[in-house]
Structure formats: C-alpha cells, structure tokens
C-alpha cells in the first residue's frame, strides 16, 4: 500500500520539525481522526482528550511509520489505542467478558434485519450497548481489526472477543428491530 506522494512529502517535512507541514498534516486528517475518537469514547470531551494525545504521539513517532503501510491506518490505530487506554482506566469497563451465552450470530442479524439502517441509527443502537460489546463490535465491524488483534488490544482472550461480538450483534438486532417498529407507524 503506497502513500500519497503529497502526504509523504508532508511526513518528511514534519520529521524535520517543519511547523507549517505539521499544520497541513493536521488540517488534512483532523476530521477523520476526531470521528474515530468520537466513536471510541462516550463524550466529546473524552474524544478531544484522546485525539489531542493521539496527535502528539503521531508527530513524535513519525520516524517509526513505514511507508509501505497505510498512513491513515497507522494514525487510526494510534487514535484507537489511545482511546482504549482511556477505556481501560475506567474500571467499570474492565470485566465484561462472558462467553457462556452466545445466542445470536451474524446470520441471525442478516435474516431478521435488512441492511437499510443509517449511520445515526446504528450509532444510536451502539450507544445503548454495554461498552464491552460495543468496543469489540466497533473494532471488528467498523474498523476491521481481527479477533487476535482485538484480544491483544483489549487484553482479553480471542474467544472472549468472538463472544462479545456475537452478543453485540444480537443486542444490535434487538435494538434496530425495535427502532424499526417504532418508526413504521410514523411512516
């Protein structure tokens, strides 16, 4: 995966401490990274903290970025990891692993629900999820991490990650169905 030459040039200048290049890089990706931060935090204030710390890490660690990888993916991962660090600090979210009940499968969701929900509806549904489920769901479904990666990021077993995802989808199925039923009479 090659990096846009313009971005690559900005990166090189940022490594030299060029402040103008740093501003340009920030302006180019700040909206994307703030959206990622908002997804993994509960409040806008938390998202601001996360993205601010993430940007500092990005600028300080530009030398460790390999040009063969996606620069956007590299920055996303830094934001996600920063958000997860914040998530881990909250002990309320610590132990949500429960693999005893795995009732729903993606097929259940597929069978019961057409994929016609909007992002706002999905975010509304995700916001009602227990955070353990929601974190695995967002990492796996939205940002495309594998269960092995998620298990390392969240310091949980791979099976726990799979279990959490299944439960998240089942939960989402119920929420989206109920939202659809509420919306239908109005239509």
């Amino acid at each position: 995966m090659s990096v846009d030459p313009e971005v690559l040039d900005l990166i090189e200048k940022c490594k030299e401490g060029n402040r103008r290049a740093q501003f340009d890089l920030y302006g180019r990706f700040s909206g994307l990274l703030f959206a990622v931060a908002l997804r993994y935090t509960n409040t806008k204030i938390d998202a601001e903290d996360v993205v601010q710390n993430a940007w500092v890490k990005i600028f300080k660690n530009l030398n460790s970025f390999s040009e063969n990888n996606s620069f956007e993916g590299w920055m996303r991962r830094i934001v996600v990891n920063t958000a997860i660090s914040l998530y881990r600090k909250d002990k309320k979210h610590a132990n949500q692993a429960d693999i005893t009940e795995v009732l729903a499968t993606p097929r259940d969701l597929e069978a019961s629900k057409e994929c016609d929900f909007t992002r706002e509806e999905l975010e509304n549904a995700i916001s009602r999820m227990p955070e353990g489920y929601g974190m695995v769901f967002k990492l796996y479904v939205i940002d495309g991490y594998k269960h092995k990666e998620i298990s390392k990021m969240l310091d949980i077993e791979v099976n726990t990650s799979k279990s959490q995802l299944s439960r998240a989808k089942k939960f989402l199925q119920g929420v989206l169905n109920s939202m659809e039923q509420v919306a239908k009479p109005n239509k």
Partner: protein, 191 residues
C-alpha cells in the same frame, strides 16, 4: 457465515467510509502547545541529565584529589619531623659526649698543666656550644651550655697559653668576658 458477515460489515463500513467530524476550534492550538511542551520537556531533561553528569564527574574529581594530598602531606611531614628530630637528638648526644670528654680532658689538663691538650679540647667544646645553641633550645642544650660555661675556663687558658699557670688561674674570674671575646675568634679559626 462469511457472506452474511461481509454484507452486514460492508454496509456498516460503508456508513463510516470517509466519515469525518470537524474538531472543535482550539483543538489545533491545544495539540501544538502540548507537542511543544513535550518536546521542550524532553530536551530540558537531556540538558539536565548532562548537567547532573558533569556535576557527578566534578564531584568525583574533587573527592579523589584532596584525598591523595591529605595522605601524602602528613606522611612526608611526619617523616621529616621524625628524621630531623632523630638526627638532632643523635647529634646532640654525640656533641654532649664530646663535650663531656672535653670537659674531663680540660679538667685533667688543668690539674696536670698540659696546655696543648687543653687547647684541642677547648676547640671541640666551643664547636659544641655553637651547634647546640643554633639548633634547639631544649633542656639538653641548656645542659650543654652549662657544660660549656663550666668548661669556659679552658679558652681563657688557651689564649694565655704562653703565660704562666698562676695568671691563667687568675683569669678564671674574668671568664665571661674572655668567653665573649674568644668564641668569635675561635669560630673564625674553625671556619
């Protein structure tokens, strides 16, 4: 499972594809202020580390330097003192012995009237007086002085060696004056 998951996942990913949210104003300043503070903080730490290292090096140098001097100085000083004191004591002992011998010889010479022998003894005795008074003021030296004063009669008789014995005996009463005059003359002779 894969196809169902792909459809669901791709739909959701499509919802978030290119999704951006404008960060609040002031975020940019916060980011770069934090960046500047962290960078300057790390460079400040580096300079502090260098300063601490320099202080440690100087401290070590300072710690070891005086120790060497402190060890060396007293030893040499003690040795010098000991050596000089020992040498001085030995010299005093030798001179004292010579003085005693000379005093005995003078006494016997006076008794026997052997002027030549007395003359030699007096020379030795005067030398003793000079060495001892120049080097120390100890009690032993004072004893030497006493000895020399006791034996100061011989110089008188030395000066008057061509005079008769009776006159020599009379001069003993003037020995202090005679000693004051004789000693410098004798010193010049010795030199």
């Amino acid at each position: 499972m894969k196809p169902a998951q792909d459809k669901f996942t791709s739909h959701i990913q499509g919802l978030y594809d290119g999704h951006e949210v404008a960060p609040p104003e002031g975020m940019k300043d916060s980011v770069f202020n934090q960046l500047d503070s962290e960078v300057s903080g790390s460079s400040g730490l580096t300079s502090k580390a260098i300063l601490v290292a320099a202080v440690v090096v100087v401290g070590f140098a300072w710690f070891f330097m005086p120790e060497k001097e402190a060890v060396a100085e007293p030893k040499t000083a003690d040795e010098q003192v000991v050596v000089s004191e020992q040498a001085e004591a030995q010299e005093i002992q030798r001179e004292k012995a010579k003085a005693e011998k000379a005093a005995a010889a003078i006494a016997s010479a006076i008794e026997a009237g052997q002027v030549d022998e007395i003359d030699e003894a007096v020379v030795v005795k005067e030398a003793v007086v000079e060495v001892v008074t120049a080097k120390t003021e100890s009690v032993e030296v004072e004893e030497n002085i006493v000895l020399s004063e006791e034996g100061a009669t011989p110089p008188v008789s030395t000066v008057q060696k061509d005079i008769e014995e009776q006159k020599t005996i009379e001069k003993v009463g003037e020995k202090k004056e005679a000693v004051e005059w004789v000693l410098p003359a004798k010193l010049k002779v010795d030199e």
